[in-house]
C-alpha cells in the first residue's frame, strides 16, 4: 500500500489538483448547476469510456490502434436505431446475414477437405479464385433480388427522419410488407447458403496450409447449424416476428436494439480481425492506414444507406412519461409514472441522459473489470498485454484470444453508440468527435490501463460539460466587469489542454505503466 502510494504520488497529486480546479470552477455556479453539470460530465464520460475501453483493450493486447472505433460507435447507433424504429427491415436483413455467416462458418470443415485435394499450386490458385468469384457472383445475384423492406431516402414521407419523428410521437407507421417476387423463398435461401459455402470453400482452398492439425468434432457443426436454424426461422416467420416486434413495448424493443447493436459490433469485430487485421500484424503503419480507411468507408456506407441528415432515436416509454407526479421527486413516483425528468436539488434532471447512461457506464466498467480480474480469459489478456511470447510459450493460443478481444472492443464501441444515440441523435459523423475524445481520454488516463481509460474518460466528460456550462453562464473575470464566455470550439480545446499538461508531467498518463 505504501509503495503503491509512493509510486502513484504524481498521479495522486494531479488528481488532487484537478479536483481542486473543479471545486474552484464549481464555486461560480449554483449547487443546482454544479449537480447537473457533474451528471452530464458522467454521462459524456460513460459514452467516451465505452469507446475508449474498447480501444485500450485492443491496443493493449494486439498493439493495433483501431482508428475505426469512432465509426463503429456510429454504426452501433444506426444498427440499434434500425432495430428500434424499423424492426421489419431488421428481420428482413437478418435472414440473409445469418445464412451467409452459416455458409462461411463452414470454412473450418472445408479446410479439412481442401487439404485432401492434391493440385498443382497454380491450378489450386486458379480454381480457388474461380470458386470465390463464382460464389460472390451468385451471392450478389441472389441478394439483389432478395426482398428487403427499407426506407426511401428520396421520398421525405418514407425517409428515416419521418419514421423517427412519427415513432417519437408514439405513432408507429407500419410499413408495407415486401414479398418474394423475383425469386422463390426456397431458392433464395438455398442460393445464399450455397453461394457463401462455395466462396468459403474457395478461400479455404486458397490458404489450405494454415489449417492442418485441427480435429473435427460435432462442435464444429454447431455454429453453422444454429445460424442456419435461426436464419431459416426468421425467413419463415418473417411476418409474424415483424408484427410481434411492432406490437412490443418500446422498453423491450429498446433492450433488443441494444443487444443487437452489441452483437453486430462483436460480429464486425471478429470479421475485421480475422480477415483484415490478422495479415497485418507486425506492420503497424499498414494497420493504421487500414483502420483509418475502414473508418472513412464506414461513414460513406452509412451515408449511402441511412442518408446524411441527422435524425433522432425516440427514447423508450420508460424514460418519456410526463403525466401524473412528473417531474418525480422520489423513486416511487419515478417508477410509477416513468418520468422523463426528476427534481434533484431543485433542478430538473433528465432521467435517460443524466442518470441512466452514467449507471450503464458504471455497470459496464464493473462487468469488464470482473471479466479482466476474475476470468481465465481476463488473466490471459492481462498477461498478454505485457508479454505475448511468454503467454504463447505456456501453450496458450493467443491468436484466438486476439479475435475475442477485438470483438469485445468493437462490441463496447457499438454499445456506446446505441446507448448514446437516444440522447444525442444520429449523424454519420457522430463518431469522429467521440474518437477524438476517447483518444484524449486514453492519453490522459494511460493508453493501456483499463482504470486509466475510465478515469480519463470521466475527466474529459467533466471538463467538456463544465466548459459548455460556462459557455452559457460565463466566468466573471477578476478586477473587471467583463464576463468571459468560452465559445463552443474551446470545449474540445480544453480537453486537449488538460492532455498536454498531464503528458508533460506524466508521459505515460495518470495510471499508465507501459510507454
Amino acid at each position: 500500500m505504501k509503495t503503491n502510494l509512493r509510486k502513484n504520488s504524481k498521479a495522486i497529486i494531479i488528481l488532487v489538483i484537478i479536483a481542486a480546479f473543479l471545486f474552484v470552477a464549481a464555486r461560480g455556479m449554483s449547487g443546482r448547476d454544479v449537480l447537473i453539470t457533474v451528471l452530464r460530465g458522467f454521462s459524456t464520460g460513460s459514452v467516451t469510456f465505452l469507446v475508449a475501453a474498447g480501444f485500450s483493450l485492443i491496443f493493449g493486447l494486439l498493439d493495433v490502434l483501431n482508428l475505426a472505433q469512432g465509426t463503429l460507435y456510429m454504426i452501433g447507433a444506426y444498427v440499434g436505431w434500425t432495430v428500434y424504429v424499423r424492426p421489419d427491415t431488421f428481420i428482413d436483413v437478418l435472414t440473409p446475414v445469418l445464412l451467409i455467416l452459416a455458409g462461411f462458418s463452414l470454412s473450418a470443415l472445408w479446410g479439412r477437405l481442401a487439404s485432401r485435394i492434391q493440385l498443382a499450386p497454380k491450378a489450386r490458385k486458379i480454381i480457388s479464385w474461380l470458386l470465390i468469384l463464382a460464389g460472390f457472383g451468385l451471392l450478389a445475384l441472389v441478394l439483389t433480388s432478395y426482398p428487403i423492406a427499407i426506407w426511401n431516402l428520396n421520398n421525405y414521407s418514407e425517409s428515416p427522419i419521418t419514421y423517427s419523428y412519427m415513432a417519437d410521437q408514439g405513432l408507429r407507421i407500419i410499413p408495407a410488407e415486401v414479398t418474394f417476387e423475383k425469386i422463390s423463398p426456397f431458392l433464395a435461401i438455398l442460393g445464399l447458403l450455397v453461394s457463401s459455402a462455395i466462396s468459403a470453400f474457395g478461400i479455404a482452398l486458397l490458404n489450405r496450409d494454415e489449417s492442418k492439425s485441427q480435429a473435427i468434432n460435432w462442435r464444429r457443426y454447431l455454429a453453422p447449424a444454429i445460424l442456419l436454424l435461426i436464419g431459416v426461422l426468421a425467413a419463415v416467420f418473417n411476418a409474424q416476428i415483424t408484427g410481434w416486434m411492432f406490437a412490443m413495448s418500446t422498453n423491450w424493443l429498446f433492450v433488443i436494439a441494444i443487444l443487437i447493436a452489441i452483437l453486430s459490433g462483436v460480429g464486425l469485430g471478429s470479421l475485421m480481425e480475422t480477415t483484415l487485421i490478422r495479415p497485418l500484424y507486425n506492420r503497424p503503419i499498414y494497420q493504421l492506414m487500414l483502420t483509418l480507411g475502414l473508418g472513412t468507408i464506414g461513414v460513406q456506407i452509412v451515408q449511402a444507406v441511412w442518408g446524411r441528415p441527422e435524425f433522432v432515436w425516440p427514447k423508450p416509454e420508460f424514460f418519456t412519461g410526463t403525466g401524473g407526479a412528473c417531474p418525480a421527486t422520489n423513486l416511487a413516483d419515478l417508477l410509477e409514472y416513468n418520468c422523463s425528468t426528476v427534481f434533484l436539488l431543485g433542478g430538473r434532471v433528465r432521467v435517460y441522459d443524466e442518470i441512466f447512461i452514467p449507471i450503464v457506464g458504471i455497470i459496464v466498467l464493473i462487468v469488464v473489470w470482473i471479466l479482466l480480474k476474475r476470468s481465465r480469459i481476463g488473466m490471459i489478456i492481462r498477461a498478454g498485454v505485457q508479454d505475448r511470447q511468454m503467454v504463447e510459450a505456456l501453450g496458450i493460443n493467443v491468436r484466438r484470444v486476439f479475435t475475442l478481444v477485438f470483438a469485445l472492443g468493437v462490441g463496447l464501441a457499438t454499445f456506446g453508440g446505441a446507448l448514446a444515440a437516444p440522447s444525442t441523435g444520429l449523424t454519420p459523423v457522430m463518431g469522429e468527435r467521440l474518437l477524438l475524445s476517447a483518444l484524449i481520454a486514453l492519453a490522459i488516463g494511460g493508453l493501456t490501463s483499463f482504470p486509466g481509460a475510465a478515469l480519463g474518460s470521466l475527466l474529459v466528460g467533466l471538463i467538456q460539460q463544465f466548459m459548455i456550462k460556462y459557455g452559457q453562464i460565463g466566468i466573471p473575470l477578476p478586477f473587471t466587469d467583463a464576463v468571459f464566455k468560452p465559445s463552443p470550439p474551446l470545449v474540445p480545446a480544453s480537453t486537449v489542454l488538460l492532455m498536454v499538461i498531464v503528458l508533460l508531467i506524466l508521459p505515460g498518463g495518470l495510471l499508465g505503466s507501459k510507454e
Binding site: S213, R382, Q386, M390, L394, R399
Partner: protein
C-alpha cells in the same frame, strides 16, 4: 526412445537476422544438458527455435519423435515443453498465484502440482497474493521455474537461472533444478560454468551460431584447453 529432443542442423532467424547457422545436438531423456558458449553465441536463440519463437528455416526439431519446426509456439509448448526465459518474464499485473494459474493446461493442474512446487520453493507459499513484480530477483526466478512446472512438461528449457542472483540463492536454485530434473528432462543455458558443471550431465558448446562440441560434462571439466578456447577463462 532415448533422446527426448533432437535438433538437426537448424538455421534460425530472428527478424531478418540469420542467428543460428547449423546447430545440431541431441538431448537424452531424463538428464540435464547444458548449452554453453559466450555471450551472443546463439544459446537463447536455440531455446527459442525449439519452441518456435524464432523461425527455423532449415533443419529439423524433433520432440518425442515428432517434427515440430514450423508449428506455432503454443502448439509446440502444449506438447509438453516448459520455458523459463532469460529475464524471467513474470507477469507484472498478475499475482504470484495467477502467474502459476495461467500456466495450467488442464483445469486443476495447479492443485495437483501444488505440493511438489511448494516443496521445491517453500518461499513462494508466503507470497501467493503479492504481485509478480513485488518479489526479489531470486523469488522471481523461483516463480518462473515453478510456472514451468504447473503443466505436465516432459522437457524444461531454462535460460540463465543464476543470472543476477546472490551465491546463497544460486545454491538453492541448483538444488531445486537437480530435484526437478528427476521428473523432467532439462535443457539449461548457463553463463556460469561452475553452476552448469554442477548440474549438467551433458554439454553442448555453441559458438557464433554453430554447435562446435558436445559430450559428457565430466570430459569437458577435464579438458581445460577446450574450456579456455570456447568459454574464455572459467
Amino acid at each position: 526412445m532415448s533422446n527426448i529432443l533432437e535438433v538437426k542442423n537448424i538455421h534460425s532467424f530472428i527478424n531478418q537476422f540469420h542467428i543460428l547457422q547449423d546447430v545440431d545436438f541431441v538431448v537424452p531423456k531424463g538428464s540435464i544438458t547444458a548449452l554453453l558458449g559466450r555471450n551472443g553465441a546463439g544459446k537463447t536463440t536455440t531455446l527459442k527455435s525449439i519452441l518456435g519463437l524464432a523461425s527455423v528455416r532449415e533443419g529439423k526439431v524433433i520432440f518425442e519423435g515428432r517434427e515440430v519446426q514450423g508449428m506455432p509456439p503454443f502448439e509446440i509448448a502444449a506438447l509438453g515443453i516448459g520455458f523459463v526465459p532469460e529475464h524471467r518474464a513474470i507477469f507484472r499485473d498478475l499475482s504470484v498465484e495467477e502467474n502459476l494459474k495461467i500456466a495450467e493446461r488442464n483445469k486443476g493442474d495447479l492443485d495437483r502440482k501444488r505440493t511438489f512446487i511448494f516443496d521445491l520453493f517453500p518461499d513462494l507459499k508466503k507470497f501467493l497474493n503479492l504481485r509478480g513484480t513485488e518479489l526479489s530477483g531470486g523469488q522471481q526466478q523461483m516463480l518462473a521455474i515453478a510456472r514451468a512446472l504447473v503443466a505436465d512438461n516432459s522437457l524444461l528449457l531454462i535460460d540463465e537461472p543464476s543470472e543476477g542472483l546472490a551465491p546463497v540463492i544460486i545454491e538453492h536454485m541448483i538444488d531445486a533444478i537437480r530435484q526437478l530434473s528427476e521428473q523432467s528432462t532439462v535443457v539449461l543455458v548457463e553463463q556460469n560454468f561452475l553452476v552448469a558443471s554442477k548440474l549438467a550431465k551433458y554439454f553442448v558448446i555453441i559458438e557464433e551460431g554453430k554447435s562446435v562440441a558436445s559430450g559428457l560434462m565430466k570430459d569437458l571439466e577435464a579438458d581445460k584447453a577446450m574450456i579456455h578456447r570456447y568459454l574464455g577463462a572459467a
